[in-house]
Symmetry: C2
């Protein structure tokens, strides 16, 4: 898929076909996430691939915006690893860049996913940490249910001229 087309047509996909996602594709998606830039090239991230149906069902109940996980064949939990930071404080940006790479790769492979937020809502951080047995230095940032899209997706247009300023605000 062409880059600009991928950027224009990537959308949040919340409905999936009842069909598994090959592990090789899940790994490719994570490989693309790992190519994101990070402060000092610290790569302060960890990934949990979730295909266990009980775990997906449990995750779907953790807060109101993640219910689609119950019907997804897979999900990826993207976490920041604070013990890997070189420049403290940048892990959120690093992991969000990795997340965007991951969402683009999901789309580029013909899959569909949706970024559901965790950090910085503390209740969610604790719930995901417990479910996936995360150590203290690993903070769940976002959870991405994914699968083969079972919903149409149209091109987005979000250009806002008024958000661009020239040389000064």
């Amino acid at each position: 898929m062409e880059l600009m087309h991928a950027l224009r047509t990537r959308r949040s996909i919340r409905k999936y076909e009842d069909k598994p996602v090959p592990e090789a594709l899940l790994r490719e998606v994570i490989e693309m996430a790992m190519l994101a830039p990070s402060a000092g090239n610290a790569q302060p991230w960890q990934f949990v691939v979730v295909t266990d149906r009980d775990k997906l069902a449990a995750a779907s109940g953790l807060h109101p915006y993640v219910t689609m996980a119950a019907h997804a064949p897979a999900a990826i939990l993207l976490c920041g690893d604070l013990s890997l930071e070189k420049y403290p404080g940048y892990w959120v940006q690093d992991c969000a860049a990795a997340m965007e790479n991951m969402l683009l790769a999901i789309h580029g492979l013909g899959l569909g996913g949706v970024w559901t937020g965790i950090h910085p809502i503390q209740d969610r951080v604790e719930a995901f940490s417990r479910l996936f047995n995360l150590p203290d230095n690993v903070v769940p940032m976002g959870f991405v249910p994914l699968g083969w899209p079972a919903q149409p997706a149209s091109e987005a247009s979000r250009f806002r001229e008024d958000r661009i300023h020239y040389n000064t605000y």
Copy 2:
């Protein structure tokens, strides 16, 4: 450019040819940034396009990791607009996703850029806010000097098997 190739070959570019970047390309890069996902689709971002040589020179002196701005034909300051958030606390992730789209679009157009960090280092936030006259609700997150690459860039490999966990940490 093909998406996966773009993801694999995007690198930080810190040296630029002495040649301007057409304004249409700077706008296209920002348009791609604006297509990023955001919490509640709030799109809580603002952009300052910088082509004024005095501003670029001034920015280059604000901290030790942004000196390449003095020799860049352009830069884009990406800011979070806290007044636009729907789900408070997610603006950093939203803006970092927009940043990654922007870096990929820069690369896809044959340009090169480098993400230099601002937020959450308070000294830098204050210095950029002053230089670009930002209102209180607008927080500078990252500053991207860019131009036509004057350095070779090889493909990155950052895959780390040990960062992938299955169903539990």
